[in-house]
């Protein structure tokens, strides 16, 4: 479709306006995080702080538990994402490359569980964690992230696109299934691993519901939980909370910028994650 010049300009204008509207909450968040308490409570609102209060960030990290929460989130997310990539890629390899009785039936079971809403499983999961005495521990935060039926399914789709002839070449060279998995399939599936990596990273880093249920003590708060709980405790310290919110958003934006292509193509492919 060829566009006339005037149309191009007006389309560009609408796009810019849309972008501005979508950016507005972020800009306000950043601005508020750099204001003094007086400025942030002023009416009408002050859009740009007189002197940027960078110390708000220091205060959020040191005095309001954001530093500790950042560390917790980093630990939980790193272990969960690495674990999920390993567990799901091993499972996907079996479904894509091995022949064994009941393979299709088991794979169907994996797919069927994806239809069950989170709310059905989360109550029993909570009671299981509670019975195991794991409430308020790192394992409680980490273990639900270690496996996902969706991840297994996604990686299997990527593995299926790799030609079998590469497996056979490895076999002729005297390799076994472990070699095929490690030296053929994994290196050739970087796009798929990247896609699952960013999905699970965003999912686990951003998750609030599960930590709300299983964590009570401040020392184990993840970032979203620390932000949500701070809301109740320091209701008036908007500027500190906004500094914490900016700190929570920066890592996801950095990872997103690195893996944007995989993320978007995988949503288009699978429709997962809102």
């Amino acid at each position: 479709m060829k566009l006339r010049r005037r149309e191009t300009v007006s389309l560009q204008l609408v796009t810019v306006l849309g972008a501005a509207a979508l950016l507005f909450p972020f800009l306000w968040m950043i601005s508020a995080s750099l204001q003094t308490l007086q400025e942030v409570e002023a009416f009408p609102p002050i859009w740009i702080p007189e002197v940027p209060q960078w110390t708000n960030y220091v205060e959020a990290v040191v005095n309001y538990n954001i530093g500790r929460a950042l560390l917790n989130s980093a630990i939980v997310t790193t272990v969960s994402v690495a674990g999920q990539l390993i567990v799901c890629s091993l499972g996907a390899y079996a479904f894509s490359r091995l022949r064994f009785p009941g393979r299709d039936a088991i794979f169907l079971l994996f797919l069927a569980t994806m239809m069950i809403p989170h709310y059905v499983t989360i109550i029993p999961l909570y009671t299981m964690v509670w019975s195991a005495g794991l409430i308020d521990t790192y394992p409680a935060l980490i273990f639900p992230g270690l496996f996902s039926p969706f991840g297994t399914f996604l990686l299997r789709q990527f593995f299926n696109q790799i030609p079998i002839s590469l497996d056979e070449a490895t076999l002729i060279d005297g390799g076994n299934h472990w070699h095929i998995y490690l030296y053929v399939i994994m290196p050739l599936s970087r796009a798929g691993l990247g896609a699952l990596g960013i999905f699970s990273f965003l999912g686990i880093w951003n998750t609030l519901f599960w930590p709300v249920l299983v964590i009570n003590s401040k020392e184990l708060f993840t970032l979203p939980l620390a932000l949500a709980m701070a809301q109740g405790q320091f209701i008036t310290l908007i500027h500190i909370q906004m500094a914490g919110s900016v700190i929570a958003c920066v890592p996801v934006i950095v990872v997103f910028l690195m893996l944007q292509k995989q993320f978007i193509s995988s949503i288009a492919l699978s429709g997962m994650k809102q």
């Binding site: 479709m1 566009l3 191009t8 389309l11 609408v14 796009t15 849309g18 979508l22 950016l23 909450p25 972020f26 968040m29 009408p44 390993i86 567990v87 799901c88 091993l90 499972g91 079996a94 490359r97 091995l98 022949r99 009785p101 393979r103 088991i106 994996f110 569980t113 239809m115 809403p117 989170h118 709310y119 059905v120 989360i122 109550i123 029993p124 999961l125 009671t127 299981m128 639900p144 496996f147 039926p149 079998i164 076994n176 299934h177 998995y181 609030l208 970032l223 932000l227 809301q231 909370q241 919110s245 929570a248 996801v252 934006i253 997103f256 944007q260 978007i264 288009a268 429709g271 809102q274």
Partner: protein, 309 residues
């Protein structure tokens, strides 16, 4: 699929990892590869789903021993006025989000399809709300909605009096819907953009030669060919909306006066604020039934409007 064609020539007895030709010979190595996944599936899906079935017909407050009560929970759901109220709220939020997200998502997809200058930057900006932490942005929105906050300050010059966004029952749901639209809009955009990009350009060129206007092209080419993507985005969009938690937890906690308590948030309320695990489990099965029903109805209705090439 056929992995073991050449395997016979290199077979050695010392390793179960070595591929063989016969079907079941991969069984042991498959068990090794599958063991972590099967353990995960059992602990995170099969066992919880089974437990949820048991909980649905039981009464349990975690502290006292669990008690079997038959279908009592489901009977209670059927006569629970709050349940029906949350059902109305769920319908409201789902309809509101689907309409806004689809209209605005389609507009955004049509804009981002064009190869204009700086398009990569625009795309990144459009996708930012989707990826950022709900807790962080919901807190920002909560303050933005305050009576003397930036949103009312922006509306003031337009002649609109300050709106009590989150503190009045009639305004709380619209406010929540606006925020969730801002956050999830680009998910629709991604799906619809992929749909738009798969429509062959020749269709537009051919119809231009035949004298079709831009408007006719949109109704006769774009929309019919986009209908599978619209259908897919509708189904997954509804499923996601039915399971919302974070924005309501942060912004309203279901209030004021239950005006934003959706069915999913009601499950949380009953289970974890009132410690009625059995009743919450029964509600969660009702949610599952609703999701299933929605999806089936959509599936049947798609014949009327979805056009597959």
């Amino acid at each position: 699929m056929a992995t073991g064609q050449k395997a016979q020539t290199v077979s050695a007895p010392w390793s179960i990892l070595r591929p063989r030709r016969r079907r079941h010979k991969d069984l042991y190595v498959a068990l090794l590869f599958l063991a972590p996944s099967l353990l995960g599936l059992f602990l995170l899906q099969v066992l919880p789903i089974g437990t949820a079935l048991v909980l649905g017909v039981s009464e349990w407050n975690i502290i006292d021993p669990i008690k079997f009560v038959g279908l009592k929970n489901f009977v209670e759901v059927a006569t629970d006025a709050t349940f029906y109220h949350t059902l109305e709220n769920t319908l409201y939020i789902t309809a509101g989000l689907e309409v806004l997200n689809t209209l605005l998502g389609l507009c955004a997809a049509l804009l981002l399809k064009n190869a204009m200058r700086g398009i990569d930057l625009y795309r990144t900006i459009y996708f930012l709300p989707l990826i950022t932490t709900w807790a962080a942005v919901a807190i920002a929105w909560r303050y933005m909605y305050s009576l003397e906050g930036p949103i009312n300050a922006l509306l003031g010059p337009l002649g609109i009096d300050p709106i009590p966004w989150l503190s009045r029952p009639e305004w709380a749901m619209p406010a929540v819907i606006i925020t969730i639209t801002w956050k999830t809009l680009s998910w629709k955009t991604i799906i619809l953009l992929a749909g738009l990009q798969s429509i062959p350009n020749e269709f537009y060129e051919a119809s231009s030669i035949d004298g079709a206007s831009r408007w006719q092209q949109f109704w006769k080419i774009t929309l019919p060919l986009l209908s599978p993507a619209l259908f897919f985005a509708l189904i997954i969009g509804i499923i996601n909306t039915l399971q919302l938690f974070d924005p309501i937890f942060i912004m309203t906690d279901g209030g004021p006066a239950d005006s934003t308590r959706t069915l999913s948030y009601y499950i949380y309320t009953r289970g974890f604020q009132n410690l009625r695990m059995g009743y919450a489990a029964a509600l969660s099965w009702v949610l599952f039934a609703i999701i299933l029903l929605f999806t089936l109805v959509q599936w049947v209705l798609q014949k009327r409007w979805v056009f597959y090439q």
